[in-house]
């Protein structure tokens, strides 16, 4: 082998870069987030699997409907009327942003910019 000093060093750097996830996590399985679910109600706007995967799309759809087409119709869950709203629907049942939304979002590194304008419940 020629220039082995340089080439082996380069290869080692490459392998270390590719395996960053292995030595960064240091073999510890992570702490899975457990968002605190509301106690007094049982159903969300959508079935559980759907709301988990698609809640951002729903929020986007609500936002477009309310602001672009002025469709402020309400929806009924367990006999109560909720407007299509981030603060007046989602956050009425999920009363804590920190213990609910942020739990998952910190784990998945999402930082919704919604809270630049919308008010989160006071905690």
């Amino acid at each position: 082998m020629y220039d082995s000093g340089k080439i082996i060093t380069g290869l080692i750097i490459f392998v270390l870069l590719v395996t960053i996830p292995v030595w960064y996590n240091r073999g510890t399985a992570s702490n899975v987030p457990e968002p605190e679910l509301p106690k007094d109600v049982k159903t969300c706007v959508l079935p559980k699997a759907e709301i988990t995967a698609k809640h951002m799309q729903l929020l986007n759809q609500w936002r477009d409907e309310v602001i672009r087409t002025g469709d402020r119709s309400t929806l009924e869950i367990e006999g109560k009327q909720y407007p299509k709203s981030l603060m007046l629907a989602c956050m009425k049942c999920h009363t804590s942003k920190v213990k609910f939304c942020d739990k998952c979002h910190d784990y998945a590194s999402v930082k919704p910019y919604c809270w630049d304008c919308h008010l989160a419940p006071v905690e």
Partner: protein, 338 residues
């Protein structure tokens, strides 16, 4: 129709994953076993290729110089195109690796009436090439949010920068748009440019289609078909993989398995394909050598060792025979004692 076969191959790969994960138990194969195998092939194959290259001797300097070389101290020479020392070589390599400088030499020959032939620099290849590679890099760094826990600041920073346009929810990433545009351009170039079309092979089209498939499934998963794309469950699998304790905690969308299977194909295919230019660019002797063949003595590593043999030594060895044959010698035989 050199693109028909690779296109069919990628479609077949998509279908294999799509259909196979419907069978219970196959999720483990496609989510855990195949990724480990692919990663092992990638790392093993990559090191094997690089070490294989390192075993070939480079007996003399073969940099491609394309500027005035160093001659006399008062004649200006081109430090980047004909580098003479390590510093200049490093600068040249840096610009090559990070800015793809040599693609500025991509010329397009055109014949005008006259007839007049011109060679004009065509920078489109450079532009879309650089868009493609940097988008790819940013996407890979962003994906680290699925593998690292806690997530380092640099990953969040790049995510924020990439989603700066704040379009929709989940927010659109700029690099998703640029990588698709770039792949489409690089493909169109191979199809519509007759010269490039002529030299394009199956193994030029296959990686393009494969990466296009990876990006399309990723984009579909994020923005269009979110059913069962539970990022938390996916992250648990991904972190599990890198901590060697993989678990599949929920029913994840089959689109995710297609995405992952295409990525695994790419990883496994990588070391045995032209994609090895990732390592090759560092080892290409036409770039990484200094143009100093007239300043430094370069010795061919496989030369046999030849000892110098001076005339005086030669005469010492053969003096007796020379005298006997009557050949004149510089130093006579020692006088014979009687």
């Amino acid at each position: 129709m050199k693109y028909a076969f690779p296109l069919a191959a990628v479609i077949a790969l998509v279908l294999i994953a799509l259909i196979a994960v419907q069978i219970p138990g196959m999720q483990y194969l496609f989510g855990v076993v195949v990724p480990y195998l692919a990663m092992a092939l990638f790392l093993g194959g990559f090191c094997y290729r690089v070490i294989h290259w390192a075993k070939s001797p480079v007996p003399f300097r073969i940099p491609t110089t394309c500027g005035q070389g160093y001659t006399m101290p008062w004649i200006k020479y081109d430090k980047l195109e004909a580098p003479v020392n390590t510093g200049q070589v490093v600068a040249r390599m840096f610009l090559e690796i990070f800015l793809f400088r040599s693609l500025w030499r991509n010329t397009k020959a055109t014949v005008y009436s006259g007839p007049k032939l011109t060679y004009e620099s065509s920078k489109w290849l450079w532009l879309f090439g650089i868009l493609f590679h940097y988008s790819f890099l940013v996407i890979i760094i962003r994906h680290m949010r699925l593998f690292l826990d806690p997530i380092p600041g640099i990953v969040s920073f790049i995510e924020t920068g990439d989603s700066l346009l704040q379009i929709g929810a989940p927010v659109m990433y700029t690099t998703d748009v640029t990588i698709i545009l770039a792949i489409l351009f690089l493909f169109a170039r191979r199809v519509f440019n007759p010269q490039v079309r002529y030299i394009s092979l199956v193994n030029d089209y296959f990686p393009l289609f494969l990466i296009f498939g990876i990006c399309t499934t990723g984009i579909l998963m994020r923005f269009f078909i979110r059913t069962d794309v539970d990022i938390n469950a996916i992250k648990q699998l991904a972190v599990g993989l890198v901590t060697f304790s993989p678990t599949i905690v929920a029913d994840i969308s089959s689109l995710f398995y297609v995405h992952l299977f295409l990525v695994c194909t790419l990883l496994a295919y990588f070391p045995f394909s032209k994609l090895m230019h990732m390592g090759g660019v560092f080892l290409s002797p036409t770039r990484n050598l200094a143009n100093n063949s007239r300043m430094v003595r370069h010795i061919n590593p496989w030369n046999p060792e030849i000892k110098p043999h001076s005339y005086a030594g030669y005469e010492d060895e053969f003096r007796e025979d020379m005298v006997e044959q009557g050949i004149p010698v510089e130093k006579e035989l020692p006088a014979q004692g009687e």
